[in-house]
Amino acid sequence: MQTLIFAIYALVACSAAIAVVVSQNVVRMAFWLIIALGSVAGLFFLLNADFVGATQLLIYVGGTVVLLIFGVMLTASGPMLTIKSAPGEVVLGGLAGLAVLGMLVYATLGVDWSANRAKLASKQSVAETQSFRSPEEGQSVRKLGSALLGVRFDKDLNTDRKSLSTGYLLPFEIISVHLLVVLVGASYLARTKRRRAGMVAAETAAG
């Protein structure tokens, strides 16, 4: 059953990504991007990453793609909706993409994951079972939240380690400041500009 659901999400994600590349109309590209990002969120839920999947839907599908569609609205007019590339460039890009895909697939299939089986078997930590719900129902919110606060109880609880594991408090604070800076910077960069003096003089001369 899980194999079937994974196959559906994986096929939809891959075909939507290929459709983004193949589409000539930028509005259709945005629609296929929504489908691709939604399928990726489904894959996240299959990988027991419930909070990451929900965040993907909220921020990527509900935020970033809407931002891109705003950009399409503000920068597109009739003759510019379908800007075609030269056929030679498309063929060259496709060949380069297929070469990179071949390299990645060859590298992925050539790794012997069974060599790590002993390490993986010992990975089942105690904190994995100390939850009211099973991993499929989602138990990552508390672990993620405390990891972002610097407390790694998923690694440190009930073990006799001499030192505590690394938390993510510093990257969390850095990202907070980064978001504030991006907010101010993007608003300033995209503000309405004052008309230049030459344009105003031309208008008064014509009118």
Binding site: T75, S85, L104, V105, P171
Partner: protein, 103 residues
Amino acid sequence: MNDVGLTPYLLVAAVLFVCGIVCMATKRNGIGVLMGIELVLNGANINFVAFARYGLLGMDGQAISMFVIVLAAAEAAVALAIALNFYNNHLTIDVDEGNQLKG
């Protein structure tokens, strides 16, 4: 009912990644290039979360993918502001028109 394993997730991530870079390389619309960037980042995120589930990453993989999502949203905002400025200056979003620095 049974686990899919690690390799199928890595293959899906590789397809998304390659689609993203082909989109970045061949699209003449500036907003299309931004969509390619989103695909690349999603491919990397699938890799992180797959290794968090099937590898030895644990919660680190999910925390890193959270940071990637946040940074991608911030970078999309700034890139869109740049694209709007480009459009205001050139009255087109075709990136081939940005050749004033051509030697």
